[in-house]
């Protein structure tokens, strides 16, 4: 019985090892990983991710290996073997937890806070391009203020899918709204800071562009703003990550990062369509 238990203990130990190392391989090889960063603020996030991966990975492997080693060594030992105490006892382990893991996570926290602060605690530049994103079940719409640089006010009672007045703007009476440009796709010039004003029409939604290292919820009743600069020309997917109803999975739009010239042309074309 004891020998059988010992064998099973050893198989268990090997299984833990295989699972632990097997789980780490795709991480080390970046088989599945974040897409390439196309933002100016993304580098510290990526660095933070890699640092955390290294430290969490070491903790993961070390603990699983210790678990496996102790199961291997101590399952069903000979009946006359004596109970031994881990060198250093509980106080050694508590000190180790505070010193190693405590300092490690607080260091991670401090560096992570810097990355967060860089994004959220610095205001958008005065010349940042204002774009308004509106999320509603189950589509995004974007609004550009036009030559006057001002967005016309939103009139919720004027929102109409049938009239294609997705934002509820009054171009006949509101001076600021007359030149507003509403689009289904978001286009921005490369290397130009964008100040994205986020407005929800109905329920909670989110704006997630993995390449841009941006994810921010839309809060119904509370417009929030984020700012970012895209550094690489291309077409990227904007997806909703906040459960918003039956069409949530299909709520997406495209973000086109363009050269300034292409962007100007695109905006002119969109303005003509209004």
């Amino acid at each position: 019985m004891a020998a059988k238990g010992r064998t099973m203990g050893r198989i268990f130990a090997v299984t833990i090892l295989v699972i632990a190392i097997g789980s780490a391989i795709p991480i080390l090889r970046h088989t599945w990983w974040m897409p390439q960063d196309i933002s100016t603020h993304g580098a510290p996030i990526d660095e933070q991710m890699s640092e955390t991966m290294a430290e969490a990975g070491i903790c993961f492997l070390a603990s699983q290996i210790l678990l496996a080693a102790f199961i291997w060594k101590f399952s069903n030992p000979k009946p006359d073997s004596k109970i031994k105490t881990f060198p250093g006892g509980a106080s050694g382990l508590v000190i180790a937890a505070f010193l190693l893991v405590g300092t490690e996570v607080l260091a991670l926290g401090a560096f992570g806070a810097k990355a967060w602060a860089k994004i959220y605690f610095t205001p958008a530049a005065a010349n940042a391009l204002p774009v308004q994103a509106q999320a509603g079940q189950f589509a995004f719409y974007f609004r550009y203020p036009g030559p006057d640089g001002k967005f016309g006010p939103i009139h919720p009672d004027m929102v109409s899918e049938a009239n294609q007045n997705f934002y509820g703007i009054d171009i006949n009476n509101d001076q600021d709204a007359k030149d507003d440009i509403v689009t289904a796709e978001m286009a921005i010039p490369v290397n130009r800071e964008v100040n994205l004003l986020m407005h929800s029409k109905d329920v909670g939604h989110s704006f997630f562009v993995p390449e841009l290292r941006v994810q921010q919820d839309f809060v119904p009743g509370l417009d929030v703003a984020i700012h970012f600069t895209a550094t690489k020309i291309g077409r990227y997917e904007i997806v909703c990550t906040q459960l918003c109803g039956l069409g949530h999975y299909n709520m997406k739009a495209y973000l086109s990062v363009m050269s300034q010239q292409d962007y100007d042309d695109w905006l002119k074309k969109e303005a003509a369509l209004q």
Partner: protein, 595 residues
């Protein structure tokens, strides 16, 4: 401490009728088994729901036989609609979190064993105890009823974020009556938990027998006590939140709905509510809830492992303090669910640091287990395998917490499968492994029969390897940006991930099927298992010292046990072998903490 007035309160005569004995029983042991049975029914439903979801995710147009019987609209032609996927997903999460992870490790085992472990005849308020189960049962019926009412259950996820949950039918199928039933069920559930917690706390504080000082309580008793304090405070917040949500539906209030929201070109008749208020209230409950699910498992795993390692933990007190620290910190970290919610970004940082700090008591718990394993005489059996499996899962799920505690990284991982992998490993699978460990360990005491060890080990191997095959890849999906709560993956960048989803689905079906081995073992052993001795594992705590197995109605046959020893006197030389029971007057050279 021994208190005659408290003993008088709990004393009640044994029931004579069938109903008094098996249905409306005042006996904490029967109530514990009722909770266990409820959790078993709930877990089967929850697991079948997860199968349906996984099949749909891997093969969206798959016809699932008989599904249209569950919902003619949601699954016409046996193919799930997008909304029905979300409705099943919501019910999966809700049923698992509330009716399995909260009821089984805490209410089921705690009810059965806490009074016996402290040496009491019953809990101090047996009627409240009976009520707590039946209220929970009603709550379960209300939740299940939503499958069959109107356009089905709510689709808003187990977190029921407002205003989607609060606006009403306009926002989608199940968002009218479905939400009202959901919120009613959860509010009723809270009542059951509050009554239960009250009993657990008073049992621990007032019902301890002579000699049972707080430090002589087994770690399970400590875990249930700490959990009940969390339960009392967390469910007390969730209940009013649910009531406010119901009022938004039925009384025209706007607690959670802001002004000027437009659905189908109609301005909704609400004004002045707050979207984020619900999230704050929900997560003030929701994060302690994670620990309500897992701390009893920590207690059970410690209790089972100590008995099977034949040695006490390196430090009993450090374990208790760590579980206590987890409980206190669990209230200070809830905002990490809301880093990108639109709350003040300074708050995100404020919530980030306690979340990082909570890794310290978690690490200590793991290190104490590992350090105690060193130099032990570990017995390998189904109960100890599941306990060791719990530790492995808790480590794997715990380290991903390093990522999610940091707002800057959360930008990439929030609402992705990384989060789903994290909480399934650390909370769901680990807690369920704790339930399995407790079942294999205590089944002999609860039924008088042993469970089949061979079947138990087969069950363990399939579950352990299977759970990793399901939940480890979730982390990879999350790193690649795979958003959760999608019923299909239509985005271009998600296409390369579809094979991973297929792999997970196959693993989930196999692992789920493996649970049939457990169910068979449970039923078979209940009637045909080998007869159990009073103390088959040579354990030390009071539940193993009852005069009969299962214990008599009043647990100790009219006696009040007297406790002479700390809970885990193993690895010693005594007349009974390498251990001495807590109520044995034998003088021994005791093992003390080695702090």
């Amino acid at each position: 401490m021994h208190d005659m007035s408290a003993q008088a309160v709990q004393h009640h005569a044994p029931p004579t009728s069938f109903i008094g004995k098996h249905v409306f029983s005042l006996d904490h042991k029967v109530i514990g088994k009722q909770y266990y049975a409820l959790a078993l029914v709930a877990v089967v439903i929850g697991m079948v729901l997860s199968w349906l979801m996984r099949i749909h995710l891997a093969w969206p147009s798959a016809k699932i036989p008989l599904l249209h019987y569950l919902s003619a609209n949601g699954a016409a032609g046996n193919v799930m609609t997008p909304e029905y996927y979300l409705q099943l997903m919501t019910m999966h999460g809700t049923i698992m979190v509330f009716f399995v992870l909260t009821t089984a490790p805490f209410a089921a085992f705690g009810n059965y064993f806490l009074p016996i472990q402290v040496g009491a005849e019953d809990m101090p308020f047996p009627h409240f105890n009976m009520m707590s189960f039946w209220v929970t049962f009603v709550s379960f019926l209300v939740m299940i009823a939503s499958f069959f009412v109107g356009d089905g259950p709510t689709l808003g996820g187990w977190t029921q974020y407002a205003p989607l949950s609060a606006i009403g039918p306009a926002s989608g199928p199940g968002q009218g009556m479905g939400v009202v039933l959901w919120a009613s069920s959860i509010a009723i559930f809270c009542v059951g938990q509050l009554l239960g917690s009250l009993n657990f706390i008073t049992t621990t504080l007032d019902m301890r027998t002579r000699g049972m000082s707080l430090w002589r309580l087994p770690l399970t008793a400590w875990a249930w006590f700490i959990t009940s304090v969390m339960g009392l405070t967390a469910f007390a917040v969730l209940m009013p939140a649910c009531i406010l949500l119901i009022l938004d539906h039925v009384a025209g209030t706007s607690f959670f709905v802001a002004s000027n929201l437009v659905i189908s070109d109609q301005v909704q008749p609400h004004s002045g509510g707050s979207t984020l208020l619900w999230q704050h209230l929900f997560w003030f409950f929701g994060h302690p809830e994670v620990y309500i699910a897992i701390v009893p498992g920590m207690g059970i795993v410690s209790h089972v492992l100590i008995t099977n390692m034949r040695r006490p933990l390196l430090s009993h007190r450090v374990m208790v303090y760590s579980m206590g620290a987890l409980a206190v910190l669990s209230y200070m970290v809830y905002g990490h669910h809301m880093f990108v919610s639109g709350m003040n970004p300074f708050s995100s940082l404020a919530f980030s640091f306690p979340t990082l700090i909570i890794t310290i008591p978690s690490t200590i718990v793991v290190l104490i287990w590992l350090g105690s394993l060193y130099g032990s005489k570990l017995r390998i059996n189904s109960a100890s395998l599941f306990s060791l499996g719990f530790i492995s899962m808790f480590i794997s799920g715990g380290v991903s917490g390093f990522f999610l505690a940091q707002p800057s990284i959360d930008i990439m991982l929030h609402a992705t499968y990384f989060v789903v992998g994290h909480f399934h490993l650390v909370m769901a699978v680990a807690a369920i492994f704790g339930i399995f460990a407790g079942t294999y360990f205590w089944f002999p005491k609860m039924t008088g029969r042993m469970m089949n060890e061979t079947l138990g080990k087969i069950h363990f191997w399939l579950s352990f390897v299977g759970a990793y095959c399901i939940f480890m890849p979730f982390h990879y999906l999350g790193l690649a940006g795979n958003v959760r709560r999608y019923q299909a993956f239509v985005d271009d960048y998600l296409q390369p991930l579809l094979p991973v989803h297929k792999f997970i689905t196959v693993a989930a079906l196999v692992t789920g099927a493996a649970q049939l081995v457990f169910l068979y073992n449970l039923v078979y052993s209940r009637f045909r298992g080998e007869r159990a001795a009073d103390n088959p594992w040579q354990a030390t705590s009071l539940e193993w010292s009852t005069p009969t197995t299962p214990p008599p109605f009043d647990n100790f046959g009219g006696q009040h046990p007297v406790v002479y020893h700390d809970p885990y006197q193993f690895g010693i030389e005594a007349s009974s072998g390498d251990y001495v029971m807590q109520n044995s007057p034998e003088e021994i050279h005791t093992v003390r903490d080695e702090e």
